[in-house]
C-alpha cells in the first residue's frame, strides 16, 4: 500500500487558540465559541446529533398523526386540533395536510435525520478520533456545514406554518404536481421554502462531505494506513463520496424546478391543462426530474445505510470480542455497493414507460447489488460465530440492525426485478421494504452508535435498563408495524392514500391498519423514552471512570475520558496494527490496542 502518512505532530489548522494549550483551552474560550460556533469536530457532531433528534421527534410525531387517520378513518381525535389547528378541524385531518404530513415525514427522516443526523454526527465524531487527527481538514468549513444545515432546518420548520401548508407532493416532489400552484395547496409557498431548504441542505452536505473525505485521505496519524482504518471510517468515507458525487445532481434538478415554478421555463412541463386553462408549456419532460432526483435518490439510500453498516461492524466485533470477519471482503463490498449505487437509479421508474431494454439493464445492476450486501450479512454472522458475546444495548441494536437489514434487503429482490415491480410499485410493499431497510435498520445502526459512543461523547453512560426496554419495544414494534404491510402491498394496496374505505379491493385491511397505528404510537413513545434517557444521561448518567470502557483497540479510546479540542494531550499516538486485534495481549486482556507495537515475531494482519 502506498498511502500517504502524515507525520505527527498534527496541526489544528489555525484554530484561534494555540495547539500548545489544548487540554486547557476551555478555560479561555467563551461559551459561544465553545458550544455554539464551535470548530471542534466533537461539538459539531453533537450539534448534528441533537438537531437530528429534535427533527426525529417532529418527523415521528407526524407519522403518529397520519397513522391515526389511516388506522381510524371514521373517528376524530380532538387532540390533533390542539397541535394542528385548522388543519385538523374537529379532530379530523384534512386531506391536504395529511399529504403535507406524509411529505414532511419523508423529507425530515430521510434528509434531516438519517443523512445529517446520522453521518453528520458520526463522521464528525469518529473520523478524527479514529484516524488520529486533532480535527477535520477544515474545521471552519465543518462549522459552516452545520450552520447551513441549521439554516435549512429553519426554512423547513417555517414551511410548516405557512397558510397553504408545507410541500405536499411526497418527499420526491415530482413535477408537474410540485411545479404548479394550481395543482395542490402545498405547491405554493410551502414548496418554495422546501426547495430553498433543500438547496441549503445540499450545500451543508457538500461542505461536510468534502471535509470527511480530505480528513480521511490526508490527516491519518503515523502508521494509520488505509487498511488499518476501522470499518466505520471506511463506511463514512464512502458515504461522503456518494454524497459529493450525487447531491450536485439533485441540486441541478432543484434549480430547473425553481425555474419552472417561477420563471416560466418548461424543463419538466408539457401539454398541461389545469385550473380551467391550458398552460403555454410545451416540450418539457416530467420524467427528466425523476432521473435527476433518483440519481441522488438512490445513492441517498446508501448514504443512509453505510454509516449504520460501519458502526454495526464495529459494535458487533467489539462486543463479540472477535475481529470482524473478512475485513478486506467488507471493504470490497463497500466499494461494490458504492459503485453500483450510482448505476441503479432508474429502478424507481420501471413504470414510467421507460424503454424496456433500459429497464433490463437496471434490473441486472440492481440485483447485482444483492451480492455485496449478502457478503456483508454473512460476514457479520460469522463475526458472531464462536464469539464471547456481551449483550450491551449497543450490541443488541447491532443485532437488530443485521436482522432488519436481512428482512428489508430480501424484499428489495422483489422490487428490483421489474416484472414483479410492475405490480408492487407504489404499494405498501414498497413502504414496508424501505422502512425496514433504510428506516428501521439505519436507525438501529444509529442507536448502536449512540449507545456505544455516548461515553466518548459525554463522559457518561446511558441508562442500560431504559436502553433494553427501548430496544425490545423498537425491535418488536418495527416488525409488527411493517411485516403486515407486505401483505397489503402484495394485495395491491397503493401507498399515499388518505382513506381506503371507498375501495372494494382494499377496505378489508382497515382493521389491520388500526392495529399498525396502535403499535406505531407505542413505538413512538418508546423513542421518547430514548430521548429522555439521552438527555438525562448527559448530566445524570453514570460517570465513565476508565479510559476504555468497552475494551476496544481503536484510537478514540486512547484519548482522555473527556477530550478537549485537539483530542490528545501531547503527541498523537502512533498506530502499529489493524483495528480488530481481539486476541490475548499476554496481560489478561482480550484485545490489543492499535497503539501497541508488534511483539517480536508477530506478524501484522
Amino acid at each position: 500500500m502506498s498511502t500517504v502518512i502524515i507525520d505527527g505532530p498534527n496541526v489544528t489548522q489555525g484554530i484561534q487558540t494555540g495547539t500548545e494549550h489544548h487540554g486547557h483551552e476551555h478555560h479561555e474560550q467563551h461559551f459561544i465559541w465553545k458550544y455554539i460556533f464551535s470548530q471542534d469536530h466533537k461539538v459539531i457532531g453533537r450539534q448534528f446529533l441533537v438537531t437530528g433528534i429534535i427533527w426525529a421527534i417532529i418527523g415521528a410525531l407526524f407519522s403518529v398523526f397520519f397513522r391515526l387517520q389511516l388506522g381510524f378513518p371514521d373517528q376524530t381525535f380532538p387532540i390533533m386540533e390542539k397541535f394542528l389547528g385548522d388543519w385538523a378541524k374537529g379532530g379530523k385531518l384534512s386531506p391536504e395536510f395529511y399529504y403535507g404530513l406524509v411529505t414532511m415525514h419523508g423529507t425530515i427522516l430521510v434528509f434531516f435525520v438519517l443523512t445529517a443526523g446520522l453521518s453528520g454526527t458520526f463522521a464528525n465524531i469518529l473520523i478524527p478520533l479514529q484516524v488520529g487527527a486533532r480535527d477535520m481538514a477544515s474545521p471552519f468549513m465543518n462549522m459552516l456545514s452545520y450552520w447551513f444545515f441549521f439554516a435549512a432546518s429553519i426554512f423547513m420548520f417555517v414551511s410548516l406554518f405557512v397558510q397553504t401548508g408545507p410541500a405536499s407532493g411526497g418527499w420526491t416532489t415530482y413535477p408537474p404536481l410540485s411545479a404548479l400552484k394550481e395543482a395542490s395547496l402545498g405547491s405554493g409557498v410551502g414548496m418554495d421554502l422546501w426547495l430553498i431548504s433543500m438547496s441549503l441542505f445540499v450545500v451543508s452536505s457538500l461542505l461536510g462531505g468534502l471535509n470527511y473525505v480530505s480528513t480521511v485521505l490526508n490527516m491519518r496519524t503515523k502508521g494509520m494506513t488505509m487498511t488499518r482504518m476501522p470499518l466505520t471510517i471506511w463506511a463514512l468515507f464512502f458515504t461522503a463520496v456518494l454524497g459529493i458525487l450525487s447531491f450536485p445532481v439533485l441540486f441541478s434538478g432543484f434549480v430547473l424546478l425553481i425555474f419552472d415554478r417561477n420563471f416560466g421555463t418548461s424543463f419538466y412541463l408539457s401539454e398541461i391543462f389545469i385550473g380551467g386553462k391550458a398552460l403555454p408549456h410545451i416540450g418539457g419532460s416530467a420524467i427528466l426530474y425523476q432521473h435527476l432526483f433518483w440519481f441522488l435518490g438512490h445513492p441517498e439510500v446508501y448514504i443512509i445505510m453505510l454509516p449504520g453498516m460501519g458502526m454495526a461492524s464495529e459494535v458487533l466485533s467489539n462486543h463479540s470480542r472477535k475481529p470482524i470477519f473478512g475485513y478486506f471482503a467488507m471493504i470490497i463490498s463497500l466499494v461494490g455497493i458504492t459503485v453500483l449505487a450510482f448505476l441503479v437509479w432508474a429502478h424507481h421508474m420501471f413504470v414510467t414507460g421507460m424503454s424496456p431494454f433500459l429497464g433490463s439493464i437496471f434490473v441486472l445492476l440492481t440485483l447485482l447489488i444483492a451480492v455485496p450486501s449478502a457478503v456483508k450479512v454473512f460476514n457479520w454472522l460469522t463475526t458472531m460465530w464462536r464469539g464471547n458475546i456481551r449483550f450491551t444495548v449497543a450490541m443488541l441494536f447491532a443485532i437488530g440492525f443485521v436482522s432488519m437489514f436481512i428482512s428489508g434487503g430480501l424484499t428489495g429482490i422483489f422490487l428490483g426485478n421489474s416484472a414483479l415491480d410492475i405490480h408492487l410499485h407504489d404499494t405498501y410493499f414498497v413502504v414496508a421494504h424501505f422502512h425496514i431497510v433504510m428506516g428501521v435498520s439505519a436507525f438501529m445502526g444509529m442507536f448502536a452508535g449512540i449507545y456505544h459512543w455516548f461515553p466518548k461523547m459525554f463522559g457518561r453512560f446511558m441508562n442500560n435498563t431504559l436502553g433494553y426496554i427501548h430496544f425490545f419495544i423498537t425491535f418488536a414494534g418495527a416488525y409488527l408495524i411493517f411485516w403486515p404491510m407486505h401483505y397489503e402491498g402484495i394485495a395491491g394496496m397503493p401507498r399515499r392514500y388518505y382513506d381506503y374505505s371507498a375501495w372494494e379491493s382494499y377496505k378489508q385491511f382497515i382493521s389491520m391498519n388500526g392495529f399498525i397505528s396502535i403499535v406505531a404510537i407505542i413505538v413512538f413513545f418508546a423513542q421518547l423514552l430514548f430521548v429522555y434517557n439521552f438527555f438525562v444521561s448527559i448530566w445524570r448518567g453514570r460517570k465513565v471512570t476508565v479510559q476504555n470502557p468497552w475494551g476496544s483497540p481503536t484510537l478514540e479510546w486512547t484519548t482522555p475520558i473527556k477530550p478537549g479540542h485537539g483530542n490528545w494531550e501531547g503527541e498523537i499516538p502512533e498506530v502499529y496494527r489493524w483495528p480488530y486485534d481481539y486476541k490475548d495481549d499476554g496481560n489478561g486482556n482480550d484485545f490489543i490496542p492499535q497503539t501497541t507495537p508488534l511483539r517480536p515475531g508477530e506478524e501484522s494482519h
Partner: protein, 349 residues
C-alpha cells in the same frame, strides 16, 4: 389542558422508569458488578430466543390473518407469469430469510459471554468469501433471467388485433375514450380542452374523432380473452393507471403517451363467483401521488363477453354527438392529412 396533563404524566412515567433503572444499576454495582452483569447477559440471551420464537409464531399468525384477503388469481394472461414468478422469488428469499435469521439468533444465544468462554480469533477465510459471493450471484442470475423474460413479455408490442382504448388521468378521475366503429382514436390537443364540451380536447377537424366515445365515470369496458392496448395520458399532473387484479401498472404522464397491453381472462361475473363476493369489482387505482384527491381517484373495469360488450357499445353515443350536434365541422379537404396525423398519435410510444 388534557393534552398538558398527558404530557406531564408521560414525563412522570419516564422519570420513574429512569430512576428504577438507575437504582437497579447502582444496586448491581454494589452487589458485585461481574455477577449481575453475567445474569443480565443470560436474561437478554433468553429474551432473544423468545423473540425469535414469538416472531416465527407471529409470521404464521399473520399468514392466517391475511388468508382470504389477498388478491384472486391474476385476471390477465400476462399476470399469470407474475404470480408464478412471485412464488419462486418468495421461496428463494424465504429460505434465505429463515436460515439467516435463525443463524443470527442462534449464534447470539449460543455464543453469549460466559466466564469460561474465550472468543475464537478468526479474522478471515477466503474460501468462505468466495462461496458466499458466488452462490448469491448465481441465485440472482437465475432470478434476473426469469424476470427479464417476463418483463420483455409484458412490455412487448401489443398484437395487431388488440382493442384500443385510451385512458386519461386528470385531478381526480379517469376519462376513458373508445375509438368507436372506425377503431381509430382521433387527434387531440390540450389547448382545445373545455371542461364543459370537450373534456379531452378532441380536434373536431379530425373525422376520426366523430365516432369516439368518452366515458367520464371512469368505466373501462373490456372483452374477455381479447387483448387490449391502453393508450395512457394525463391532462395535468402525473397519475398512474393501477390495475391490481391484472397485475398491471403504468404511469400517465402529461406530454408523453405511454401504453400497456394485456388480455383479460375472467369476466367480472366469473370473478364474482370465484371470489364468492357479489360486490366484487375490478378497480383502477391511481398509484402516483397526484394531489389532495389522490386517494379517491377510482375507476372500474368491467370485463364482459363479446356479446355483452357489443350490446353495451351499441347503446353509447359518440362524444361529438353529445356535445356538438348542431355545429357541423368545417370538414373537407383537410380531412385527408388529419387522418395521417391521428395514426401517428396512436402509434406514438
Amino acid at each position: 389542558m388534557s393534552g398538558f396533563i398527558t404530557i406531564v404524566l408521560i414525563l412522570l412515567v419516564f422519570i420513574i422508569i429512569y430512576q428504577i433503572g438507575k437504582a437497579g444499576e447502582y444496586a448491581a454495582v454494589l452487589r458485585e458488578e461481574a455477577k449481575s452483569k453475567a445474569a443480565t447477559n443470560r436474561t437478554i440471551a433468553w429474551l432473544l430466543v423468545a423473540f425469535f420464537i414469538l416472531g416465527m409464531y407471529g409470521i404464521w399468525k399473520c399468514n392466517q390473518l391475511f388468508e382470504g384477503k389477498m388478491l384472486p388469481p391474476s385476471a390477465s394472461e400476462q399476470g399469470v407469469n407474475y404470480d408464478s414468478m412471485f412464488t419462486v422469488t418468495l421461496i428463494v428469499t424465504g429460505i434465505v430469510f429463515f436460515a439467516t435469521q435463525a443463524v443470527l439468533f442462534w449464534f447470539a444465544f449460543r455464543y453469549q459471554s460466559t466466564e469460561k468462554r474465550t472468543a475464537f480469533y478468526y479474522p478471515h477465510n477466503n474460501k468462505l468469501e468466495i462461496i458466499w459471493t458466488t452462490v448469491p450471484a448465481i441465485a440472482m442470475a437465475a432470478l434476473v433471467a426469469i424476470g427479464l423474460r417476463n418483463w420483455l413479455n409484458v412490455t412487448s408490442d401489443a398484437p395487431k388485433d388488440a382493442n384500443i382504448v385510451e385512458v386519461v388521468g386528470k385531478q381526480f378521475n379517469w376519462l376513458i375514450r373508445y375509438p368507436g366503429k372506425d377503431g381509430v382514436l382521433g387527434k387531440r390537443d390540450f389547448r382545445k380542452i373545455n371542461d364543459a364540451t370537450n373534456i379531452l380536447g378532441l380536434d373536431w377537424n379530425d373525422k376520426d374523432n366523430m365516432d369516439d366515445i368518452i366515458a367520464q365515470n371512469g368505466e373501462l369496458h373490456l372483452v374477455v380473452n381479447k387483448p387490449v392496448k391502453l393508450i395512457i395520458g394525463s391532462r395535468d399532473v402525473i397519475h398512474d393507471v393501477g390495475l391490481p387484479h391484472f397485475r398491471m401498472k403504468m404511469d400517465a404522464v402529461p406530454g408523453i403517451v405511454t401504453t400497456m397491453w394485456f388480455t383479460p381472462r375472467f369476466t367480472t361475473t366469473q370473478m364474482k363467483e370465484m371470489t364468492h363476493n357479489p360486490d366484487f369489482v375490478y378497480e383502477i387505482s391511481c398509484d402516483q401521488m397526484c394531489g389532495k384527491g389522490h386517494y379517491s381517484m377510482r375507476g372500474t373495469v368491467i370485463v364482459e363477453t363479446q356479446a355483452e360488450y357489443d350490446a353495451w357499445m351499441a347503446k353509447q353515443q359518440s362524444y361529438y354527438a353529445m356535445n356538438n350536434a348542431p355545429a357541423a365541422p368545417a370538414a373537407g379537404a383537410e380531412q385527408q392529412e388529419q387522418k395521417t396525423d391521428s395514426v401517428k398519435a396512436v402509434t406514438m410510444k
